[in-house]
Symmetry: C2
């Protein structure tokens, strides 16, 4: 790879000053059409491309947006990422995605690393503390997704409402003993779900058993199959679809049938939830809309720093095949184990 051509090489080759070359690329209308085409030809010939980093140093705009997610392997994120990317592309921006591995320390490190290379960062389902987020927001413009931080623009999906609908659906089916499979520590969403589910259970005259915190993965759900059975719950609301699917898998190998013995509700409505057997009843999160909204907020944010709006997106209960009427009696297995 030979060394890339700079603006100076192009200037020399086309016999003009570097500022003219610069204008040719960043303000073409300011340069004589003839000169322009000559410069363009030389640039083309030399394989010249403006150095975006150098440009950013002086303009203060990189035209990049950072997007930090907890776990790129969680199917919840890709639709959000893709929506954000397409929205960004329309506005002539690029999205750089990074994964924190659910680790708050990595999260912080990534914000610092991205800070000067992007015009802002979308912090998606962060696991770190609010105060740290506030502090980091002084280093680079931040938009938070799935978290409310005072003073910062945020996009949240009203998962509390979704959890309420889910629990109402279950109590409506006669369930009186409902387990909640909690998500990871530090998750705002997790707290919202718990708060809403607790209230809805009380209102529906049902008991809510909280199991967790758990890893928000199939494994996390799978591991709770036995605890769910022992708790004697006839219905379960899981922190997300992945856990719900893992749980169903685990219940299945314990001989517990879904939904005949136990009803299961997930949250997110990932594509996969339509492909499993039984198809998953779940709370649909408008992830794509959230991605778009976050990009919009970040970009308009630049113009007027006072509009730190917080957008709340509605969720929706999608009833499929993993929920059904509460069984007449508790599942037989439970009778023996519950008194341990």
């Amino acid at each position: 790879m030979r060394v890339p051509a700079t603006i100076r090489d192009v200037a020399r080759a086309s016999g003009v000053h570097i500022s003219t070359v610069s204008r040719t690329f960043s303000a073409p209308h300011l340069v004589n059409p003839e000169t322009r085409s000559r410069v363009l030809a030389c640039a083309e010939h030399l394989g010249y491309r403006p150095n975006r980093a150098a440009r950013a140093l002086i303009t203060g705009r990189t035209h990049n947006i950072g997007l930090i997610v907890a776990d790129i392997a969680n199917p919840f994120f890709p639709p959000l990422i893709k929506a954000a990317e397409s929205q960004a592309r329309h506005r002539d921006y690029h999205i750089f995605v990074t994964d924190t591995n659910e680790d708050p320390a990595v999260e912080e490190d990534l914000v610092h690393a991205l800070a000067k290379q992007v015009d802002g960062v979308l912090l998606c389902s962060p696991r770190m503390s609010n105060s740290l987020i506030e502090q980091l927001s002084r280093e680079v413009p931040l938009v938070v997704i799935n978290r409310q931080v005072t003073g910062l623009p945020a996009v949240v999906m009203d998962v509390g409402q979704g959890a309420r609908l889910a629990v109402e659906h279950l109590t409506g089916l006669g369930h009186r003993r409902i387990a909640l499979l909690g998500g990871p520590r530090g998750s705002w969403t997790n707290r919202e779900i718990r708060r809403a589910a607790t209230a809805a259970a009380r209102a529906g005259d049902a008991e809510l058993i909280v199991l967790g915190p758990n890893q928000p993965t199939e494994q996390g759900g799978l591991a709770q199959a036995d605890p769910v059975r022992r708790a004697g719950a006839t219905a379960v609301l899981a922190y997300n679809d992945l856990m719900a699917i893992g749980l169903i898998e685990g219940l299945d190998s314990l001989g517990v049938r879904v939904p005949e013995d136990v009803s299961v509700v997930g949250i997110d409505d990932i594509a996969l939830s339509r492909l499993t057997r039984p198809k998953l009843t779940t709370v649909a999160n408008p992830t794509a809309a959230a991605g778009r909204a976050a990009v919009d907020m970040l970009l308009q944010h630049g113009d007027d720093r006072r509009t730190t709006a917080q957008v709340t997106l509605q969720t929706e209960l999608v009833i499929r095949d993993s929920t059904g009427p509460a069984p007449a009696a508790l599942p037989a297995v439970t009778e023996a184990t519950v008194k341990e």
Copy 2:
């Protein structure tokens, strides 16, 4: 957000020259411990962080790596991404992931956009032409994953071997009419699979019917359910697990049972393939190893540009529940429809 502190602010506050501040961060051993701690204190107090972009401009090293994938929503990629990230982190590098939406034009645009902001780009399952890739490699160091481009370092998974094993498995089970669900246009992997499957089918005295190209998604697989049935195939090898899962779904709604009527083999061994019913027989791709290898190649690459090695990783057939003996006769449905 107040304007971020620069090296000059820190210099002024601590009463030293900016070069001393610079050294404090990039070569601490060259500065007097006392001075150092004073500078550090001032930096801390001012919230100063070195501007990585400015630093990169002069050092020529960004400590970033770009990773371009065709579709972040395809579960094939996340394990590769995560492995690459963790490997990069160990070497004090950050990975920026971008998604091309399976669009070659976006792919090219992203290479340009990333070029000066990263020290190299990992091009994962590219859809663009070899010649374009070669040309782009003059702009920024490239490591190609799942493609062989002469003169460029590459990491490929030996999917040809995997496809051969899969077809041998099927012919061994008595299948003589096998359908191949092709993947997207422009995919090197797709060509490899087709080549190997064709050869293996011939060797196994079986007929190979190629259906495609298709979108490498559940939808793509689902849409081929009817064609597969009409073709009278008793076994199918799909371009990837997603398509295999979609196909099984589609066959199911046509009343075709898997594996009793039709055997299905996927490729990739995504986590999901263990969770579907039936569990998917598939060719396991060492994606994590590929991600790590690619990062290593890119980083050592810098030292010696002549070592443009091409690494080939082995694949493996994982036999689960979606394959079985060929039915004695063709499935009943087929008899009626095949003559249309």
